[in-house]
Amino acid sequence: MRLPARRCALPLALLLASIAAPAQTLNNTAALSFGAFTAGGGGAISVGTGGARMKTGSVILVNQGGAASAAQFTITGTPNAMFDISLPVDGTVFLSDGASGSMALNGFTSSPSGTGVLSGGGTQQINVGATLSVGSSQATGSYTGSFNVTVNYQ
């Protein structure tokens, strides 16, 4: 009778520990916005994790009609737990105007980058930026799209 009980102790403890661990959640609290701009001969617009907007090429940034901003997420889970952040790989996310126009969204970055640690309260904010490729004579209009972010406990 005792031998089976000892054998059960470890897996049971592990099972109970896994059940007792708080669920990890990830909520998106702010969208990634590149604001308004004229396309000109094309170029790229980068929004950093702090929300700063930079451009290359002949794109002209317009400071009206909505500010640029980084995407924000809130992760909750086990206090002080480490986690990995998975961002979209290049070539997988596009913004579309609902017609034939599209722009590629590449170079995703996050803060914290790669890995992070939940606070003692079990929360952490993640900011995500990216780079938008603007084509020459990109069609005017409002472009939208979406992307996934995943966090995993280490």
């Binding site: 998106n28 009206q64 009609g65 603007v134």
Partner: protein, 145 residues
């Protein structure tokens, strides 16, 4: 508890524990929206008057070479500038990449943004002829939101 019950419980627990690292309770994923707005530019050189130089504008304003917000500069009126606009100043919102020292000159702008009060949402100094004397006509673009 019988040995059989022990073994059954142990097996179940062991199986669950073995599967736990693969279970999604230790991962979370969500979707975020992303957006951008491409606005239509329109040339309105006459609104600021031509010829006028980047150097004139930036020296008059001493605009910072960065994405900082500058102050107001007088509008350069021309014969074709609408009367209602002549008295309105132009707001320099940014002069990114516009000031590059080249000897005693400031070479023509790679880009600058002038926000105008009035019907124009934004006026941009897109380029000027090369040469560095700062007297070439500007190519001015207005973007309407």
């Amino acid at each position: 508890m019988t040995t059989a019950r022990h073994c059954a419980l142990c097996a179940a627990a062991g199986l669950l524990c073995g599967l736990t690292p693969l279970m999604p309770v230790f991962a979370a994923s969500t979707t975020a929206q992303a957006g951008a707005t491409v606005v239509l530019p329109a040339s309105v050189n006459a609104w600021l008057g031509v010829p006028v130089s980047v150097q004139d504008l930036l020296l008059a304003q001493d605009a910072p070479a960065g994405p900082a917000t500058g102050g107001l500069v007088p509008r350069v009126a021309s014969a074709s500038t609408p009367a209602i606009l002549r008295a309105l100043p132009v707001w320099i919102a940014a002069a990114v990449e516009s000031r590059q020292a080249f000897g005693i000159d400031i070479v023509p702008a790679a880009g600058a943004t002038l926000l105008a009060r009035g019907p124009a949402a934004a006026v941009s100094v897109a380029s000027a002829a090369t040469g560095g004397d700062g007297e070439a006509p500007l190519v001015i673009t207005v973007a309407f939101n």
